[in-house]
């Protein structure tokens, strides 16, 4: 407990000594940045405006999943999720849980829970897409933490 208080005091002292309480928030320059900033601050289905138009903070995959909960639609989205995951696996950036999420989606189709299957497939497809983004970012920025 003493240690915790000491640490807290140090943090506060550092913050005060530097005369900066908090750095500034990023300014959105592109649609993707504006989308991310709004999703980060408000979660999903939040309305925001970008260059005069209104948009929602809903991921494209969530939009894809918001179709009628039928077997065909669920299977269709699962196929797309598998394809996206194969793409990210190819560049070596497949995430650990994605295959399991797809397996759960498959299982939900078997038990007739198509809504659940759609939602899981959307999450898996999103994971694969962000994994690809992560790979592209790493290709350009991996050196950021190399000591000089």
């Amino acid at each position: 407990m003493k240690k915790l208080i000491a640490t807290l005091a140090t943090v506060l002292a550092t913050v005060l000594a530097n005369g900066i309480f908090l750095p500034t928030v990023a300014v959105a320059e592109t649609f993707d940045e504006a989308f991310e900033m709004n999703r980060a601050m408000y979660g999903k289905d939040h309305s925001f405006s970008w260059t005069g138009k209104q948009y929602l903070t809903t991921h494209p995959e969530e939009v894809e999943a918001s179709v009628e909960a039928t077997k065909e639609n669920a299977e269709d989205l699962i196929v797309k999720a598998k394809a996206k995951n194969a793409e990210v696996a190819k560049v070596g950036f497949e995430w650990k849980l994605t295959k399991g999420i797809i397996a759960d989606a498959d299982a939900a189709v078997t038990t007739g829970d198509y809504r659940k299957a759609l939602n899981l497939a959307a999450q898996a497809k999103y994971h694969a897409r962000i994994g690809l983004q992560q790979h592209a970012y790493a290709e350009q920025n991996w050196q950021l933490s190399v000591p000089q």
Partner: protein
Amino acid sequence: MKIIKNLALGVSFIMSTQLVSAASTGTTLETVSPEADRIALQNFYKKRFPNTELQDYVNGIYAVDADSRTQWEDIEAFPPYEFDVEEGERLFNIAFANGKGYADCFENGGIGIRQNFPYWNKEEGTVKTLEQEINECRESNGEKALKWGKGPIAQISAYMAWTSRGKVFDISIPDGDKKALAAYLDGKKFFYSKRGQLNLSCANCHVQGSNIRIRADLASPALGHTSHFPVFRSKWGELGTLHRRYKGCHQDSRSNPLDMQSETFRNLEFFQTYMSNGLVVNGPGSRK
């Protein structure tokens, strides 16, 4: 605009004190300098842990954290890997069906050579590790390959490390060999790239985060990482190879991990061992 300035984030400011300066060189095949990398990394730790002697980094986290060092020294008084070294020696000396043995496959009969691994094999155009050559020795003599992670291969590797204790690592990248340099760069890039759902690079924990708590665990410094393998890890309750640990770490970033002895893991070992040039072999080791 004023409002934007007032809206702010505290965490990043505090975190940013951990940020090391951005690289200006050494990220491409044309510019990468393994020797500059090694010196920069060693200087990073010298600055971070001014009281730790360079040679002590072979002891991992115990080189920089006094509390856990005491516990570890108690463990090392009766080393948990002792049986494995003995078993490794026994396995090492059992002749294959064709009458040959491991001693016939390695320089100096396989004794006192751990410090020469991994190395760049020009003919094959790839990095070779000790475990890889143990299995190649078996296969070329008509025996089945051993599994990479634990058991006999770890025991044989442990015995070979044991006979090499105190020898100095001196991994070399042949001058002008672009392919060897590319392998080194691939390992370096893997080490510093964020990956997995948790978005973690090796460097996140073992450079920036070294000797800082993740729950009750302290992340070890990357320097000396390869010197003490194979390792008897309390969490495993048994001996395991370096690539078993690589695979586990890779998976802990919530990535679908690479296979043990895959080309990239061998390149990672090449990079990491080069970083530890000048340190001694002290495997096998015991770790939490």
